[in-house]
Amino acid sequence: MEIDPFIFRFSIFILSIFVGYYVVWSVTPSLHTPLMSVTNAISSVIIVGAIIAGLSGDIKNIFETSNIFGFLAIFLAAINIFGGFLVTQRMLQMYKKKKKNK
């Protein structure tokens, strides 16, 4: 008997939770705000689903309801991806060490 592929994905899921748990505990508290903005950006990888939905079908039915929802999701996720990564970068640039005595 073969193992259902769902079980594989579920294993990845559970192991990722543990990876996340240990990785996030090692994040320094002063970077908790960038942590939130970057997690925001990466969770927008949901855009891959939206792209597939948006690209489905041919010229006649490109504006089917499912395509339109795909386009809208692409739009929303893109705001998040660009906004999230860039604002994180902007914040991280500001964290500077004390300058050595001049």
């Binding site: 996340g20 949901i46 891959v48």
Partner: protein, 464 residues
């Protein structure tokens, strides 16, 4: 591109996302970490495009929406002031939630594209996954919108409570589960729409009873939800990158919620059930007129100039007054006079995790002068002046002494132990928890009644 190769690339993206979070363990590695994240995203998006064999005219539209969203996002990222970060994050959460809902709808209406079956005949496992993704996404969306409105000040930050609130929420939650069950049996469109509608309503009702200062927990919780929604969709689409990311973000948000709750010594449920601050204020507001020592900028400047060490304790008030830059100016002048200046940040100071750290970083305060509570609390006893600006409850000694107090047991900054305390505050009004701060009436406390920014500017003038 073969399905297997595609899956390997998604796995690589997932690993890069893990490295992105790992980078945040210190400010030096964080910038590289963020680049890993960007790289992971580029890989995921590129291979998705390559995986589609017949490029239809849809491609143009996909690109248009991608670029339109991207430019709006980039614009916001560059324009947003750092003080508005909490509402920005709440806003971003709402977008992830809504995107999850939309993708789930697409998959439900056109399941062939995702190999999930045909309309009216979708695999049961996929139906469960997509409705969980849609429901959690919808809750994230409407909850985050409320959080956004509260943080932005469009909606009052005070809790909105009514009788039977929690039972209604429970009932709505159970209804969603029952409807998912029926959806699997009937594959009915209308049930799918009902699930989404009820989830929107539930998200709204879940957040309205939670008050402004509990927002750090709310934002972290919604962060977690957005992750679980993404994971749900990841299972539907059989996409490893999404599953890994969803799990990472989900656990990240959960840990942050835990840290925030611990910072207030309250259980997660106590925060989520809400209503905090609304009831207590009437209870404890019977303050008698006790003698208070109040001073002006001149007194404050004199005290600090003659001190050998000063600890600055920032709070939400500093963010509201946008006083972070002038605070750093003050610190610079003091340092020039040979005073040792450090900053003490309480975990729940501000409106989101790490809020104060970002503001201080923006004002060019070196991050190695900013300390977390456990690393600096012992220093107060040997400090001459504690300069409290915009913080209140997190310094209230009542948390240690009065078991009746609603904040009893909350770990506080031991400001009281320093030789003298300067309190910049507009009035004697109690803080968020609605409790009088007995520190105001101590002999070694000098109250500086003014706007945080104006007062600090005055002090800088007097120091020079």
């Amino acid at each position: 591109m073969s399905v297997n190769l595609l899956a390997i690339f998604y796995l690589i993206s997932g690993v890069l996302f893990i490295l992105a979070l790992r980078g945040l363990s210190s400010p030096e590695t964080s910038r590289r970490g963020n680049l890993f994240g960007i790289l992971g995203m580029i890989i995921a998006i590129t291979v998705t495009f390559l995986s589609i064999e017949n490029f239809s005219t849809g491609f143009i539209y996909v690109l248009i929406f991608l670029l339109a969203g991207g430019s709006i996002g980039a614009f916001i990222a560059y324009k947003i002031p750092m003080t508005a970060m909490p509402e920005l994050v709440a806003g971003f959460h709402s977008l992830v939630g809504l995107a999850a809902v939309f993708v789930a709808i697409s998959a439900f209406l056109n399941p062939q594209v995702f190999n999930l079956g045909s309309p009216g005949n979708i695999k049961v496992s996929s139906l469960i996954e997509m409705s969980i993704g849609a429901a959690v996404g919808a809750i994230t969306f409407s909850g985050s919108v409320i959080a956004f409105l509260k943080l932005r000040g469009i909606m009052s930050g005070s809790p909105i409570t009514f009788k039977g609130q929690h039972y209604i929420n429970l009932l709505l939650g159970l209804t969603i589960i029952v409807l998912i069950f029926y959806l699997c049996r009937t594959q009915s469109d209308s049930i799918f729409w009902r699930i989404i509608e009820i989830s929107f309503l539930l998200g709204l009702l879940l957040i309205i009873p939670i008050g402004g200062a509990d927002m750090p927990v709310v934002i972290s919780m919604l962060n977690s939800y957005s992750g679980w929604a993404a994971a749900g969709i990841g299972f539907t689409l059989e996409n490893t990158a999404l599953i890994i990311t969803g799990a990472l973000v989900g656990s990240s948000g959960a840990i942050l919620s835990y840290i925030m709750c611990k910072g207030m010594n309250r259980s997660f449920f106590n925060v989520i059930l809400g209503g905090f601050g609304a009831t207590n204020s009437t209870l404890k507001n019977n303050k008698k007129t006790k003698p208070v020592k109040s001073g002006n900028a001149e007194d404050a400047a004199y005290l600090m100039k003659n001190a050998s060490s000063v600890i600055i304790v920032p709070g939400y008030g500093m963010a509201v007054a946008q006083a972070q830059h002038v605070v750093r100016e003050m610190a610079d002048v003091l340092k020039k006079n040979g005073v040792k200046v450090t900053y003490a940040v309480h975990p729940v100071a501000g409106r989101m995790p790490g809020h104060m750290n970002v503001l201080l970083a923006e004002a060019n305060v070196p991050y190695d002068e900013v300390f977390e509570q456990e690393n600096i609390n012992n220093d107060f006893a040997s400090t001459d002046v504690a300069f409290v600006i915009g913080a209140n409850d997190v310094t209230n000694p009542v948390a240690k002494t009065d078991p009746q107090s609603p904040i009893y047991g909350m770990p506080i900054l031991d400001v009281e132990k320093s030789k003298s305390v300067l309190f910049v505050k507009r009035s004697l009004s109690p803080g968020y928890a609605g409790i009088d701060n007995e520190l105001f009436y101590r002999d070694n406390t000098l109250m500086l009644f003014a706007d945080a920014k104006k007062m600090t500017e005055e002090i800088v003038k007097n120091l020079n």
